[in-house]
Symmetry: C2
Subunit: 300 residues, 2 copies
């Protein structure tokens, strides 16, 4: 079934203990689309400025990523993020954040996208997520991400959003913050009360917990010997997850478990190199092979 993502396209500068990558392509919609495209065609909604050095057609060459929803705003600048990951690779500092085009009106959902069924609203102001959602005719499964600044600063909007989505995909710390509860299981229960039917909590290095009212699934991170650059791990995770759901057209718990396992595996490829390099050279067969390893490593 059709899969739409709306999110950022970024010019990233990333420092990690293993190197530096300057002005490379990043952004939630980019990582999401790259990861999802292994499973399902993707429709991208996003905007860049006239300064954008990347040709997204080239970036997604040979992949089924529809760029009808890409707006190139000649007189604006592209979103830029610079960050440093520390010796503990799960800790990062933002060195620079230039919202640029992200601070403007959000991009429009093109007419030909309006029949999309699986929707992923990457992290942005919840009011904008709601505005984007309203442009879709009859979505069948809506997932969203959010982050600490919206939980703290735009809780009203976020609560409205939570009532309209099926699945919230957030980090461990964000789940604790949103529920005002440290214990993750209690936090999950509280968040499910706020609206979504499914909560996916991403934990350190992408282990995860999936909670529904009556079912739970816990999956450890894929043990990776080399983490070069964690940027995009969460969005790749969401991309593969939603890609698998859209591909199967199902959202039952067994399918969701497999989708989360795919998310975990694809994220493990993302973090093995800078920017999109970890995903650029692999194929679906590599993903399936690593899924088999993950299954063997977690079964008892």
């Amino acid at each position: 079934m059709s899969l739409l993502v709306t999110g950022s396209i970024a010019i990233d500068t990333v420092k990690t203990p293993l190197g530096v990558s300057e002005n490379c392509i990043g952004g939630s919609a980019v990582y999401f689309s790259m990861a999802a495209s292994f499973f399902s065609p993707v429709r991208l909604v996003g905007a860049v400025g006239g300064d954008c050095p990347f040709d997204l057609k080239q970036v997604f060459a040979g992949r089924s990523v529809d760029l009808t929803g890409l707006e190139i705003r000649k007189n604006s600048n592209t979103f830029r993020w610079a960050g440093t990951y520390h010796a503990d690779i799960n800790e990062r500092t933002t060195d620079k954040l230039e919202l640029n085009v992200l601070a403007e009106e959000p991009p429009k959902v093109p007419q030909v996208y309006k029949d999309s069924k699986f929707i992923f609203l990457a992290n942005t102001a919840p009011a904008l997520q709601l505005q984007l959602l309203e442009q879709i005719d009859e979505p069948s499964f809506i997932a969203a991400d959010t982050m600490d600044c919206w939980i703290q600063g735009r809780l009203d909007d976020l609560e409205r959003l939570l009532k309209k989505i099926d699945c919230l995909i957030i980090n461990e710390d964000e789940a604790r913050l949103l529920a005002a509860e440290h214990n993750l299981i209690k936090a999950a229960e509280a968040i499910l009360e706020m609206g979504p039917i499914i909560l996916v909590v991403k934990k350190g290095e992408l282990g995860s917990i999936v909670c529904k009212a009556d079912e739970k699934f816990v999956l450890p991170a894929f043990p990776s010997a080399e983490v070069k650059d964690p940027t995009g791990a969460g969005d790749s995770f969401a991309g593969a997850l939603m890609g698998h759901l859209a591909q199967t057209g199902k959202t039952d718990f067994a399918t969701l478990k497999a989708a989360v396992a795919y998310g975990t595996v694809v994220a493990s490829f993302t973090i093995a190199d800078f920017s999109l390099a970890g995903l650029a050279l692999i194929g679906k067969a590599d993903i399936d092979s690593r899924l088999g390893i993950l299954r063997k490593m977690t079964q008892f």
Copy 2:
């Protein structure tokens, strides 16, 4: 097969966000024996002082815990520990530590224990662990725990110990410290080079990774809604793990996976209440039932 544990018997005072438990029974050998006794008879080697308010025969009443190796030293004092767990239940502060009997000569291994096959050396100075080990005739599987102070202060002794044991069971932070490597998978590889055939790394709230040279197993923590007191989680984990191995008499990787899953489940009962209360009222059927839930929650 016979299972022997040598470790501490403690008078603990524990503060957690959910309450206080003063002068309750604790110690690595106690938690270990309690957990292991669901699976296999246990032989305990440990010492208390004349001040010990606990009758260990009473504590282990109805369980197959052999106390021939318990020394009651009338003129000594029992090991005491007081600690506080914080809002993040994985963080704790030691408020008081009185080694007392633990600073004396270690207890002797009784003649009738010398044919023990499965051995667990709970955390203490590695020189003492070696000294205890030398008293066993022909052990077939030796596991040990250690901690940061020995890695930092007694590395020579610890390296000698590592060459003699089959399995090291330590925390995530300790593994990183021992290997001087932040990435857990690389750290594991480095530690396996130091001697043990198997490394079990206990992660936050008792998720774990098991590493052999050519095999890995990763298991998330059992998602617990209520963590009342994490004291003893690691020793209960080790107790159930070793108990299952001793019960089956096997140490192949499939058995080890099941043993780690049992460890995870028993630890989840331990942390649900103070001191031994979480383990006191359950039976093997409760453990097996929760193991089934864990299997269902981790399978995809």
